[in-house]
Amino acid sequence: MFNIINKTAIFIISLLVIAVAVGSLGYYIWKENQSSSMPAKNVIIVSTTTSLYQIGVLDDLFNSFNNLTNMNISFNVLAKGSGEALRLLADGSACIGFVHAPSLELQYMNQGKIERLAIFGYNEFILVGPKSDPANVSQAPNVIEAFKRIYEAGERGDAKFVSRADLSGTNVRELQIWNLTKLNPDGKSWYLKSGQGMSQTLLMADNLNAYTLTDIGTYLKLAGQNKFNNLVILKKDPLYLINVYSMYLSKSSNCDNPNTWYIAYKFKDFLMDQGQQILETKYKGLVDPAKGSESMLQQAWETLASLG
């Protein structure tokens, strides 16, 4: 009888030992990471659109900010689509956000849940598609006309369009343009909804010989890594396709403390001063600095927000 109990005990203990051994090793490493990079007080949770995360510009800005101010703040970055990023801000799950979906931003601002600190940068959306360009969008006078041509070609069975369908900034813009064409592609067999991030959607479009709307930063980043076989830039349209990046502060009670506000405003000051230089020198073409075009961007933002 004792023998049996002993064996049971050994078995349970050995399970325990394995769990604890593996666990403690992991814990040790985790703790070490934590103590070196995260003093408990100055952690701030940041939600951002994936495009900025992918371009790598935020990491760069955070590092220079810490170097410049000697504040040693750890910015915990959540990379999401703009729709989700804004929701996290409204919930107070994240306190600072970097997004590019003016109409959604306006909604949350009207509800009093977020506050805009700055428009800090911009680039453009581009219409990309297969080299052969079956819908002939490269000859279209503007992007609305180009979308109409895709619709017609789609109905003929000559073209496909991949939509992100995730309420990201890019998706919101795409829907706005479909609205302007007065055509509704929803439910058509050539209109595919990926429900995924920009990179995956681009790769999907490449594999399917489809058109899609993308921010130029993500496209150039992937094109630079030779990820595309036949996806090329077909249409630019500065009037309808400007892409405005803004920085927001959550007004949730969770973020309503002097420390968070201090960091947020301090970062905003940095972003609009030295940060603009970093954008100018290192990220020209991917994210252009807002400096010098403030009123144009403000106007563009308002137009886009009102498109709903």
Binding site: F11, I12, S24, N76, S93, Q200
Partner: protein, 215 residues
């Protein structure tokens, strides 16, 4: 810029072994208690857990988020986007599968043992340890199943953990985030590690289990 595969792997191991361990222990305790209960009740409980096995982990992740976000009922604990939040969520992911894979065995064995115990006169307090000893192969495989479920789930880790680099980024979230930015090569490596690790751990625990039984 991208976090080293090594630290992501270790964090993953730590979080999912902690979660599956707690899930396993609670499943054992639950099984011991429920196998004493009358059959109808026990079957009802089992039915509930069987249904829970199929819940998408994303849904569990969302529930944990709604519980832990600053405006939620447990928001004041401030554990959203920490490893602890992932562990809590993964316990709920792993518990139903641990319970359903072990409970039937507890139930049937306790049935046969009842007669044996009566005829051989074994004291009642020893029946639990005999049960555990007899069922150790079942327990090992049920632990492994729950561990695999915990380490391989994405929904909770992404929604309640956030996939923050250097803090809550585990193998599955790293795969999701890296592939969402087109870094498929890195994601594939992580995937291979995930498969390799679950296989090695499974074999290791199986051997230990068999060794203990036949010794």
């Amino acid at each position: 810029m991208v976090e080293s595969i090594f630290s992501v792997t270790l964090r993953s191991l730590y979080i999912s072994s902690a979660a599956s361990f707690f899930a396993f222990i609670s499943a054992v305790i639950l099984s011991l208690i429920a196998s004493r209960a009358e059959k109808k009740k026990a079957d009802a409980i089992l039915g509930i857990f069987e249904a829970l096995v199929g819940i998408p982990t994303t849904a569990i992740g969302l529930l944990i988020y709604m519980l832990l976000f600053p405006g939620g009922p447990l928001g004041s604990l401030r554990i959203l986007y920490t490893p602890l939040a992932i562990i809590i969520g993964e316990i709920f992911v792993a518990l139903p599968i641990a319970y359903t894979t072990m409970f039937r065995h507890f139930q049937s064995l306790r049935g046969t043992m009842r007669e044996l115990v009566l005829s051989l006169g074994v004291p009642e307090k020893h029946t639990s340890s005999i049960l555990l000893r007899e069922l150790s192969p079942v327990l090992v495989s049920s632990y492994l199943t729950s561990f695999s479920r915990a380490i391989g789930e994405l929904g909770v880790a992404l929604i309640a953990g956030g996939g923050i680099e250097g803090y809550t980024n585990v193998l599955t979230t790293a795969i999701a985030i890296q592939s969402s930015i087109g870094n498929y090569e890195y994601a594939i490596w992580l995937g291979l590690i995930l498969i390799f690790m679950t296989i090695v751990l499974t074999l290791l625990l199986k051997f230990i289990g068999e060794y203990l039984i036949w010794k």
